[in-house]
Amino acid sequence: MSLLADLFAGELLDPGYAEAAARRARRAGGAGGPRPRRGRLRGSGVLLVLVLTGVLIAVAGAEVRRGEPVAAEQRSRLVGEIGARTAETDALQRRLGRLRAETERRRAAALARSDAGRRARARLDRAAAAAAAAPAAGEGLVVTLDDAPRADPDAPGAQGHDAPGGRVYDQDLQVLVNGLWAAGAEAIAVNGQRLTATTAIRTAGEAIMVDYRPLARPYEVTALGDPGGLRDAFAGSAADRRLRALKERFGIGYRTRRAPDVRLPAAGPVRLRYAVPREEDGP
């Protein structure tokens, strides 16, 4: 604490100079008359130190300047790499889609050869539709949810931050999707992400994720099915009542419209899971 105490007392922080001066004065008093020591070398120490300081500053400045382009170059290289990898992934995804369609076509051709095959094919189609493994199209209902419009921070009377609760949360989306299923929707997609029976809708940080992919608002939930029937069954349901209440209290966007022709993509690859009997329980 002596540093701070000295500072507040207005003391000299470096008492060395004062002591040296006092010593010199004592010596001068004894030997008579102040005189410069080491006549020729006087000042060379100061010069040396200052030259060293100058070199230090110049080198540090040069070092910083040299570091800048390197950092920028590394950054741009990383950005380029991200772009390249993304393009690569996209190409692989497209190839996967082509191959999957090809497999589908061949399977259909193979199954069409026999009666049993055709029956299996029909069962497979039903299962695929239920598992969201095949693209679906038809008429349906589109429900749009959106965060409350942000209050203009410059407007008089604005509370600085947007009103709490003016955001759409993952629970709201879950309630809406469950309500649509209950109303008899055949297939549902959120912002073009097809939902399966096991798709997770959850929040990570600020974003709502569907199938672990983040969504951007507004959230468009597309339900496939007879629009009139869907709407009749959905209107007045618990989900509808809850969303209406949210709209009134917190100003979130909530709109429903019919869509004559919607296309929903297939969900991501279906991972098949099997039950395996445990060894000790076996016969």
């Binding site: 540093l3 500072l7 000299l12 922080l13 470096d14 060395g16 100079y17 004062a18 040296a20 001066a21 010199r24 006087r42 000042g43 120490g45 100061v46 010069l47 040396l48 130190v49 200052l50 030259v51 060293l52 300081t53 100058g54 070199v55 230090l56 500053i57 110049a58 080198v59 540090a60 040069a62 070092e63």
Partner: protein
């Protein structure tokens, strides 16, 4: 006068020679500069107060830089390098400010 010339010579030397700083020395460079600045302002203040002493100046410069670098080195070894660097910068910064305040009082009487 001699001081200004020395500083100018130093900066020119550094810019012309552009010495390559080895990687292990780089963390100590900024700290050494702050320590050198502290010694410099202390010297200027002593000069203005008429009690400048060359030996004290040289010793305080060398001592400051070496101790500052040593603290940072020790901190790096102990895993608290950045915190100790901050500490060194704070302490030296306070000293620099109070020295500059002394200089200001001498020069402008304010």
């Amino acid at each position: 006068m001699i001081a200004l010339i020395g500083l100018l010579i130093g900066v020119t030397l550094g810019l012309v020679l552009q010495p390559d700083v080895p990687l292990w020395l780089q963390p100590y460079l900024p700290i050494a500069i702050v320590a050198a600045l502290d010694a410099m302002f202390g010297g200027v203040r002593a000069r203005l107060e008429g009690i400048f002493d060359e030996k004290v100046f040289v010793v305080s410069f060398v001592g400051n830089t070496v101790v500052a670098a040593l603290i940072v080195f020790l901190g790096d070894k102990l895993g608290v390098g950045s915190q100790l660097s901050t500490g060194v910068v704070v302490v030296l910064g306070i000293r620099i400010f109070s020295n500059v305040a002394g200089i200001r009082r001498r020069l402008f009487g304010a």
